[in-house]
Symmetry: C2
Subunit: 607 residues, 2 copies
């Protein structure tokens, strides 16, 4: 029944040889892998506006928003150009972790790995939170279910991914294209109406007084807020092996398309936000306000909102391709527990998927599903991984000296320097808003990864066999615990006699009155095995037993002791508390004893 | 270290032969066993006043309070006289459960047992809540810690009882006598001052309008509220065996003393409450108000409050003598889990003590430590057990026909009838206030007790050996799970070879690439044992293994299969999640397989 439920939820298991058929063509890779980056137009302009708003609505409605957006698009062009080189040079994927590890050394690799992991978790949390915000914009009465909706979304994505990536690809390709179509329609129609009819939104009449003046720091913060638009740019380079052959060329093409589409949309939305005088509201997103003003409360407005929700879900889904893969690669290198390395029976990394969902769900709960409280944590890790990856590429090109390497070094070098500066800006400008958490977390994760590694290496050294290693048979002393004599102990005695010629029944005498009767019955049923009675003046079961075990251990040096505990298996679950409590106590006590093997032999009750 | 901590908390263990020396002389038995009944004067009059108050302060200050108290004292005299006969006839203790079971049959016995158990739990909860109320009366700033203080009190009593009864006796005797002395001083001085100086309390000026009129139902409710004064009357009869010899006579004497003292104090407090015009306040008890008016804010007032707190703690402690004993008797009769039967190494029923504390703590939390919300649940169970016990005595005297049996039947008969009527009055009058919980709970507990019994009887029948029962040696097939070949599997292989001549290593092939290497290394290190490779196209560890087990089981009918799982024991706790996860999954899956014994053989990592 459990198996059938599994099938229903996750589909049939897939044999290993089918892995190649799960590869993605470009038209599916774009929606799956680029949706993270593309979807960020749903919240990036709004995040910038929200920061500018502390200087009052007058500043927020100045063209600073558009200039800052332009700067980010230039940054995007630099990073995308640089990453196209990475995709070509590293067809096996692994992204920043692999690139930094191989070129800069393991310490930088782990830093990149930690940054990436944080980035993936935040991609899920931020995208889902933004998706819920888009839904609430259309249906404000859902506002009170914000956290539940976000957790439900994560749950659905988790199930989808545990079923396997191919189904998700087909499922999610359509909404992305609908989003691209509707977003471009919004931008084109919106700009047309701004210029012909002087379109403005409802919140354009809102006036917020300035709390701070317009400082360079505020402009940097605004720029930092917009940098979330670039998160997800690395998704394609981490997932090159999921492309159809020729993997690298397909990935590079997809990357270029992604950057061009993202840059256009982001500039379009920022331009419209400036020209319509929009102000972020608690229960309606900036994009929703612009769309409502442009198309009214029509079916097309609803289409834009639904497409936004769905592409944001798909964006969260991107992490479910990236995170488990990264975790598997790092587990193969023995920096994460081995369970994250194994492919499940659906050819997906089930444990990595579940881990990602748990962490993202935790963030959603802690930050009450609020996009604007999550975003300050988001971009630092991502830009740190950009920097490390591109620095690694600089070293790679210098080392390999392939044709045209000088040009490649220049491109990656400019990318690394630019993103390095932006990383610092992000960490400082958004420190108090939440970036401090990430600044603390990255070294912490680093230490954990390193200690796991050290442990595995140490274990590996201890376990290494030398040619002289042989195992030698031991003598086995078998002790059967005998609380009283009834049918329930017979299987234990039968089993014990198969194990060794040295079998002893042990009775701890907590009630001396019944000992004579016990001995008499043993004569009849004990099959000639010796019965040892252990006195227990304090009615303790454990102490006399542990003392006897110490003695028995000293009888011979080549001896191992097996303690057999007869156990009842009742038919109903609640009956369990009526049995086996003493046996359980003995078992737990013996857990800490060396050279003792504890075995339960079960007796099945019939009703 | 754990042992030392245990010693520190619970004292040294006690050998079985010391049990007789823990018996109680009368001067210790009175404070320990009668404190439950005596302490109820701290809240009984107040409870009655609070009920009368719905008819307004005019009615509450009429002598109805004194008349109702007088009726309860008469009831007390009847019940105490009747119980003196029980104590004489049942020197072995067990109280209502034993008496009802032996004379009326097991179904009535279980009803009495369920009532008693509820009564014991509520004695703890009510007494502790009332003790905290007395403390808050003197120190109102503690009011916000009501629940924490109550839980802390239960915790201290629990520790005291886990240490053993004798120490508690000495510790608690003094405060009870101080309470008796100070309560009588309060009554004598209070009555003197009422008659000479017209003493009134501060709250005498409070006027509360009537919400209901004075009806017969309200008078019955008032009477019901006062019946809590009688709870605890049965404690002595349940604990006859803890008295020094001659147990029955000593217990009967103590019982008579207890009833006389209780009746006098209860009437005295009710009389003072009437004459001083006191009204219950949220943060000050009636007794505290009277004491403050009588003695002012002097050290003697504080002495009264502290003595009240301490006797209420001691009252709660009474249940720690009664409940574990009752549970042990019922467990011996196989109506409760066997763990409740065993004496711990301190000669106390540790499990019963812990169970009682958990249940009482639960009530304290649910009812926010409020005496007045707990009391409506309290008396129903107690009076039902009074009724059943005395009905049992009637049958007992009719059956045994000992000298003077007609008089005995009359006494017990009157007691049974009176308490039976009061039980009905209690259940009806206080039904909506909380008595309904107990009315539902008693049959529920009854059913649970009965099902536990049925289970144990059924198991006993299944386990009974017949003279033909012999155990016969089986053949043992030993399978060692072999994830890979390293030092960590050597102890498992060594151990396996001691068990049987049919030892096979089993490798589930989740990564076919490494199989040839594995086979090669097995040639070198495998000691000539056969290696079975199980194919696993879906990379599942479990399925191929379960299929192989099915096959192996069918090879011979007299075969048992031992599955050996090599296990790592790391040095630090956190390292555990890095190992043994697959082994654990296999172990859980095999839990549900018959005729398979699963054994872990541990390999200890060295750093």
């Amino acid at each position: 029944m459990l198996t059938q439920l599994r099938r229903l939820l996750f589909g049939s298991p897939l044999p290993t040889w089918r892995a190649i058929h799960e590869r993605l063509p470009k038209v599916l890779a774009l929606p799956i892998l680029a949706s993270d980056a593309l979807s960020s137009v749903a919240y990036a302009s709004e995040e910038m506006l929200l920061i500018l708003l502390v200087a009052g609505t007058a500043i927020a409605r100045s063209p600073i928003l558009v200039y800052a957006s332009g700067a980010i698009v230039i940054l995007l062009a630099i990073v995308a150009t640089s990453y196209r080189q990475t995709v070509q040079a590293y067809p096996s994927g692994g992204g920043a972790y692999t690139v930094a590890k191989e070129n800069l050394g393991i310490h930088y690799g782990l830093t990149a790995g930690a940054s990436l992991m944080i980035g993936y978790v935040l991609t899920v949390a931020v995208s889902i939170a933004a998706g819920v915000a888009a839904l609430i914009s259309a249906f404000p009465e859902l506002a009170e279910y914000r956290v539940s909706l976000a957790l439900g979304g994560i749950g659905i994505i988790t199930l989808g991914n545990l079923r396997g990536v191919r189904e998700s690809g087909l499922l999610f390709a359509l909404p992305t294209y609908v989003f691209l179509f509707s977003a471009f329609a919004l931008i084109v129609v919106g700009i047309y109406r701004v210029h012909t009819a002087g379109l403005i939104v409802r919140s354009a009449s809102v006036a917020v007084p300035a709390v701070e003046g317009l400082t360079l720091f505020l402009v940097l913060r605004t720029f930092s807020g917009g940098c979330v638009a670039m998160t997800g740019t690395e998704a394609i380079s981490n997932a090159v092996p999921t492309f159809r052959p020729p993997e690298s060329r397909n990935a590079a093409t997809t990357l270029a398309w992604m950057a061009a589409i993202l840059g256009t949309m982001f500039m379009g939305i920022s331009y419209l936000a400036w020209r319509t005088g929009v102000v972020p509201l608690e229960h309606e997103t900036v994009v929703s306000q612009i769309a409502r003003a442009t198309f009214g409360n029509t079916w097309f407005y609803l289409l834009i909102q639904f497409a936004t929700v769905l592409i944001l879900v798909l964006a969260a889904n991107t992490s479910y391709a990236g995170f488990p893969w990264l975790a598997s690669v790092m587990a193969r290198d023995r920096f994460l527990p081995r369970q994250l390395y194994n492919l499940g029976d659906k050819l997906v990394y089930s444990n990595g998927i579940l881990l990602l969902s748990l962490l993202a769900g935790f963030l959603v709960v802690v930050f009450r599903g609020d996009t604007h409280r999550l975003i300050p944590l988001y971009a630092v890790g991502v830009f740190l991984s950009f920097t490390l990856s591109q620095s690694g590429m600089v070293k790679h090109f210098i080392r390999t000296k392939a044709p045209g390497w000088r040009r490649s070094v220049a491109i990656s070098g400019i990318g690394a320097m630019t993103t390095g500066v932006v990383t610092l800006v992000l960490a400082v400008a958004r420190f108090v808003e939440g970036a401090w958490i990430v600044v603390l977390l990255i070294p912490l994760i680093w230490v954990v990864l390193w200690r796991i590694h050290a442990h595995y290496i140490m274990v590996g050294n201890q376990l290494r066999l030398t040619p002289e290693d042989r195992f030698e048979p031991l003598r086995n002393t078998v002790l059967v615990l005998l609380p009283s004599i009834h049918k329930g102990v017979m299987p234990a005695l039968e089993y014990a006699t198969t194990l060794s010629s040295d079998v002893r029944a042990i009775h701890v005498e907590t009630e001396p009155d019944i000992t004579p009767l016990l001995e008499e019955r043993w004569e009849q049923y004990g099959g000639g095995l010796p019965l040892v009675i252990l006195e227990s003046p304090y009615r303790s079961l454990l102490k006399p037993l542990l003392e006897y075990l110490d003695e028995a251990r000293q009888e011979r040096s080549d001896r191992v002791i097996t303690v057999i505990i007869p156990e009842f298996v009742p038919v109903k679950w609640w009956q369990k508390i009526l049995h086996n409590q003493s046996g359980l106590a003995v078992k737990i006590a013996l857990l800490f004893q060396r050279d003792i093997v504890v075995t339960n032999v079960r007796y099945y009750l019939q009703e």
